[in-house]
Amino acid sequence: AQTVTQSQPEMSVQEAETVTLSCTYDTSESDYYLFWYKQPPSRQMILVIRQEAYKQQNATENRFSVNFQKAAKSFSLKISDSQLGDAAMYFCAYVEGTYKYIFGTGTRLKVLA
């Protein structure tokens, strides 16, 4: 069965600094999608970035980028120039060919002023 693991329950970063959140997953599939979602206190899950497994190029969205290592089944999120508004829970998620996302347990990111 597919699993998604986020080993960092909580991380802290100084404002304007860079932080990396880790995610590993387990699958026997070769074609799938990976996501990072942000959940602020409002509870609404917001899509931050997505990566298609068959694309070797790492996805980038403004200050957010991923380091996708397919062989290692690793999918980390890098947040550059951290802002106070980045403080939230971050969830890594996986889906392959179906609709059923598998989520990690989340990492709480604190941004220090």
């Binding site: 998604v4 999608y33 997505r50 179906t98 609709y99 996302y101 347990t105």
Partner: protein, 115 residues
């Protein structure tokens, strides 16, 4: 609507009572999903609707849980004889059919507290 709307935002209920949670998806999104998020944990899949097809109920934790959706409109998740372990945030999401790879659009959830 512009986004996925869920109601109520918060619900406190007594153990043993039934509750109904509502989700209004984005217009045009044929796929609708319910997830449960227990405190400090990730999201657990509950149920998936796609148009008029038979729903995937494989994530429902017990027969006390049921959900309905008529066509591509509103969905209700019903929990009968609530237990304290049902306390969680229940999140609804929607997407275009065959576009789950594009990412879901989530609502803000219903926080259910069973006392």
């Amino acid at each position: 609507g512009a986004g996925v709307s869920q109601s109520p935002s918060n619900k406190v209920t007594e153990k043993g009572k039934d509750v109904e949670l509502r989700c209004d998806p984005i217009s045009g999104h044929t796929a609708l999903y319910w997830y449960r998020q227990r405190l400090g944990q990730g999201l657990e899949f509950l149920i998936y609707f796609q148009g008029n097809s038979a729903p995937d109920k494989s994530g429902l934790p017990s027969d006390r849980f049921s959900a309905e959706r008529t066509g591509e409109s509103v969905s209700t998740l019903t929990i009968q004889r609530t237990q304290q372990e049902d306390s969680a945030v229940y999140l609804c999401a929607s997407s275009f059919y065959l576009d789950s790879e594009g990412g879901y659009t989530f609502g803000s959830g219903t926080r259910l507290t069973v006392v």
